[in-house]
Amino acid sequence: MNIEIIKIVGLILVLIELILLFKLLSNKGTIKARSKWLAFFAIITIPIITIFTANYHVFETSKTVQACMSCHVMKPMGNDMLNHESQTLAARHMTNNWIKEDQCYGCHKDYGLNGTLKAKTDGYRHLMRYVTGTYSEPIVFRGEFDSQNCLNCHQGTPSFENLKAHEPVVLNLEKETSTISCTNCHGKAHPTRAQRTPGHSDYDQLMGEGAEFEQITDEDVSSIKAWLTNTK
């Protein structure tokens, strides 16, 4: 569902709730039995719908690149990704329009419902760490990046499947105790920890306002699809 519509629905619900609460308070003690449905809506139904809508809104908006970059410790990742000159994996994916939207979330959310839960759980942990100041720069990725996130897009494409050099990688990934990572051969995804450490010569630039976020259009997407399906 379009996030803008959810935002408008949420605001309307809040407005209705405020009107209802005002009515209830101003008529306190004089509410007639036939008006009790109004109280039911004001105190139970609308708040529940509002909370649900707000949560949904937060869940959706927290997927965006802007949401990730709203914490300053994430700025180096975002700014680097938006820098067309950068050669990091994230920047190359962005520059070449390989992911349409929610680029951070697109690579960092693992597969399926479990992946969503994991991403949201970790997102909440990030938020709490951030607001309580219980972190230090440079921030460090916790756990292990799942190569399946790369395969979600690349598996099945000619450039992945036809490459003989991928054979041992696939064999390793199929193992129960897979140890390999796509980033081993394809390089760093983001600026290094050293670059993200205050005092490094790249730090100020990475923490700057950075480039404007360019929304990828449907036209871009169709041109990428055409390129990907062209197996020449």
Partner: protein, 757 residues
Amino acid sequence: MKETSEKLTRRHFVKLSSGVVAVSSMAFGGWGVTELLVDEGPVDSWHKSACRFCGTGCGVMLGKKAGKIVRVRGDKEAHNRGVICVKGSMLAEVSQLEGRATTPKIRVNGQLKAASWDEAMALVAEKFSESIKTNGPDSVAFYGSGQLLTEESYTANKLFKAGIGTNNVDGNPRLCMASAAVGYAQTFGKDEPAGAYDDLDHATCFFIIGSNTYESHPPLWERIMIRKKSNPNVKIIVVDPRKTETAQRADMYLPVVPGTDLMLLNAMAQVIVAKGLYDPGFIEEHVNFNDGGNTVSWEDYVAFLQDYAPEKVASELGLTPTQIEEAAFLFGASKATMSLWTMGINQRVQGVFLNNCISSLHLITAQICRPGATPLSLTGQSNACGGVRDTGSLAHILPGGRLVKKPEHRREMEKIWGVPEGTIAPKPGYDAVNLFRAMGEEKVKACLVMCTNPAQSLPNASRYREAMEKCFLVMADIFEDTETAQYADVILPAAFYIEKTGVYGQTERRYQLIEKLVDPPGEARSDLDILVDLAERLGHGDFISSKTPKDVWDEWRKVSAHSVYNFEGITYERLEKERGLQWPCPTEDHPGTVRRYSTGDPFVQEGRKVQFYGKPDNKAVVFLRPYIPSKEKTTEAYPLYLTTGRVIDQWHTGTMTDKVSELNTSSGRGRFFINPQDAFEANLNNGDEIEVESRYGKMVGKVEISENESPGVIFASFFDPKFLVNAVVSDQYDPVSKEPDYKVTAVSIKRHQPTAL
């Protein structure tokens, strides 16, 4: 009113407090739960190290859990920027391989029997002492490896050359990069390159000759590709008889006939001169010309090149004159040209000449000593540069670029090592091929082989396997199932590289520290411990006074200060913190030297942009090197060329990589790759067995038909012990570098007819 208000306030307060507590509890409780739920990953601690395999020397991060290495990731802070290859990605698996040698073994009545360290080392010392006493010091030898740690190669070299008194110190780097080392030394006065990997980010033209970079040095290829993608005007020229994975991705592919490419280099020089693409100012200031004996003039050089005009040599090269002209134009006219080469150039009977000629192209065009403009020979092993070339652990050299044959160099080292004048023998020792020949002739009676597998890696293998049988062979290795183990009289279980501490030095003069992260299995010991033990038993315990890695390193870096290799400033403490340092690096506050012989190099005089200080007159040498056809020219009897090399999934003789299931499965077994035309003529199908015969031997192997092979050329890799391709490979070698020619062997093939039972 007041009373009511107070009651409301208290109630409100309680309500508000409860609300705040409830919300906070939910928020903080939820946070606590997330901290418990979010996975910490499979690693307890990460440790900086370098890769065990090729000479790219990639920085790696090794993840450790419960005393084992469980993960490998590219080190993003290192020169390779986090990129490693599939072999490096399997280091965790390699570190945990089963079947490690865990106890010394002695051969008794043809059978290897377990022994104590004391028994094994006493026997080794006895045999070495006896041979030295009876037949002189030159009857014993050390055959090392570009995979030993620097401290180990340095100690072996010192023990044998200045302790025992023999220059019989050689090793597998003779098989892979002696031609590059001699080539640099002849052209620039000192071994080791001027350039660095940083040049890959600035080059606008890559001239790749005799290197399948994609398969043999994948992280460097990835860097070239990133350079190319960020600047589509970057051109890649690949010269190779095979249409390798590298050649397939080139802008310009020159499929030369095996063994002829020296003509191409001279032809390119001829075009560069004829089209005015050379730099007279640079030549005047920084270059001399030499015909191999005497200094000659520019005019002599120009006249020499006339025989190599494209139209004269193109046909024999298998190219067209236009292709040569185009390659020469790109080389000379590009803003910054970088040449990369490896075994296709080094493992050749004209290996040194080829190295000279590549450098010459850079010198006449001034494509050197600028970002992106440089010749850079890629290295095959993790520590051939730092451990062997720099420490002088080959039969003809001494530490810091000194030569055995030069009396002043021997005197210098004798003084530094504190041994009497005349201790170091004036005659160079046996190079690899001749060392094993000397074993066959029973001139070398005892040899310590460390960290290498000559029974599989030497050319003309059958001949040298027989030779090994005649020698008292001591082998130190991490495995006891190698081909060489079959010929060993004593097997000493050695530690894997991260089971000991020491320094690796890779292609671009970068030294990196390998720290001990896990204990060796069973009774295995570091090679340094073995050498120190041997020194003590041979009565050189006082001379080999540095007995720990750090002590040896401190000794060696102080020794280096007496040469232009000076890296006294590269201490263990710095290496623990930094991602390797490039020498020269004379002081502890020196940042290291990215580009040698140019501004920033501490040995270049202030105000000079370029100074080839390896030569007394500060001028590099362009040699007039004629093409001499190989003895391995194809004939009616041997109508095809056999060339050997690596594949992406395997490394060297496969003692490590072939034990990793993913790599083993992916590479498949050793086989001959053959062009469809040749397969058609020989009536072969995929999987058929053929008999391949050369002047050196014959063998049987399966074929795979591949359009990537040129007609007239068959290819095989050498990793599979059950497919001993080296049994048919020529042991012709370069007369100067003594490096064997693995790349050009004339062979015949025929369908194999199994003998009926």
